[in-house]
Subunit: 262 residues, 2 copies
């Protein structure tokens, strides 16, 4: 029996060198999962993620799939796998997938969230899950910037310099479409903010550079009206700084038909 | 110049062997603070906390004071100290205190909060800040238990066996007064719960044993009506299990007149 299994995964990236398996044997999410899955299936398992996340970046809804010929029941890949994994990686769901499903190539879009705190003193329990930008932050100043980012653009200025991933670019260079960018206060908590980005794909460090630039605008160090010129420049130095990894969460991968519906 | 300075402190207890300085040189909150304070003041500083917290227990509002003859400005003990401390310890406020103020002996009461999650899969970012009790939890079942705990009782059954702290008991044995015990859902999040305890003092592990017992009641493993018999037994084995340290937060110490008022 040939099966394709897809997993919905949450992880705390603090203790890992990112999603992607590394040659040097450093801890990564993919490696940790592949070790446990290969053990469960009693055969080598290669896990394909919907995307990569950098060291220290978190996920609430990563999707990954693998092919296997094992006959063990689906629950082994949710409850069973959770019993084996460290608590900073959790399987939120496991489903049988069509054999032609591919977590990355079937994805229509992704949503990332960037969390940050603008008060003077950050609570210790939040230090690994939000960036700290002490100082006044005026979300209304972002309006024209959010509007200018939505749509199809060449985002070269918002890509880590010298890091174009030829495979990931799939012939479209640095052109990506953002369908939604919003900045909202976190419910009921003063000085806590989330910026959400939904798009059909993201370049290396794109969300962190967008977040860094938008936070600079909200804190009055740049003007929202500069965004069109930043995009036109196609030059990393035209945009703002790269916000730290700890504030970034991969929230959701979109597919049609939808997957992991309760 | 002789000064007394009091500090309002938050910490993530995950990486420490509790508040209290230890002989063996293990990391503790008090030790970390005393090292930095002694450095700042250029004289040995002894910091007196309002209470002790066990290994892995967190604080959102610990109060501690120290005496010093240094003339450095108060801001050195908030902003300055935060720049020196690791990010899992934060100074939320620093005030000049009357010389007869004592963080422990002047305290009128304390509030602890116990956070836990009853859903099937705990998010990785929450694993160090809430206990995980998968299974149905019915807060209404706690009503008679909360009512029976409030008031003045001998809490021997809710004290770690063999651990009576003679100094802390101050001649009143295991008799303590709880003025408020409540269980509420955490705003807007399914299966997240907080139990708050306010009282004039707490025995060793008392909050964790109370929390463990109340969670057993909410999950149907014990009856709320058993609480009076548990109290009467004055025997640790009569009460429920000790809930894990990670769910416990020291929220507030009460004084008259109030301190650290914005």
């Amino acid at each position: 029996m040939h099966r394709s299994i897809r997993l919905l995964i949450a992880y705390d990236g603090s203790g890992y060198r990112g999603w992607q398996r590394q040659r040097q044997g450093e801890p990564t999410i993919q490696k940790e999962l592949e070790i446990q899955l290969s053990d469960l299936c009693r055969q080598p398992v290669t896990l394909h993620g919907a995307g990569r996340t950098d060291a220290g970046v978190h996920a609430l809804g990563m999707v990954a799939h693998f092919h296997t010929t094992t006959a063990i029941p689906l629950a082994a890949f949710s409850k069973g796998l959770n019993a084996l994994l460290p608590k900073d990686i959790r399987i939120l769901g496991a489903e049988e997938a069509p054999l032609d499903f591919h977590s990355r190539f079937s994805a229509l879009g992704k949503t990332y969230r960037y969390d940050f705190f603008t008060g003077p003193v950050q609570l210790p329990a939040n230090r690994l899950y939000q960036a700290h930008y002490p100082g006044s932050f005026v979300p209304e100043q972002l309006g024209p910037a959010l509007a200018a980012l939505v749509g199809t653009h060449d985002f070269s200025s918002f890509e880590r310099s010298g890091s174009r991933d030829k495979m990931a670019s799939e012939g479209r260079g640095a052109v990506r479409m953002l369908t939604r960018v919003s900045c909202i206060p976190v419910l009921d908590r003063a000085d806590h903010w989330s910026i959400r980005f939904t798009g059909d794909g993201f370049l290396r460090q794109m969300v962190r550079i967008l977040a860094g630039t938008l936070i600079e605008i909200g804190q009055g160090q740049r003007q929202a009206e500069e965004i069109p010129a930043m995009l036109a420049a196609q030059d990393r130095t035209a945009a703002g700084h790269t916000a730290p990894a700890c504030g970034l969460f991969l929230e959701e991968i979109q597919y049609a038909p939808p997957i992991f519906c309760p």
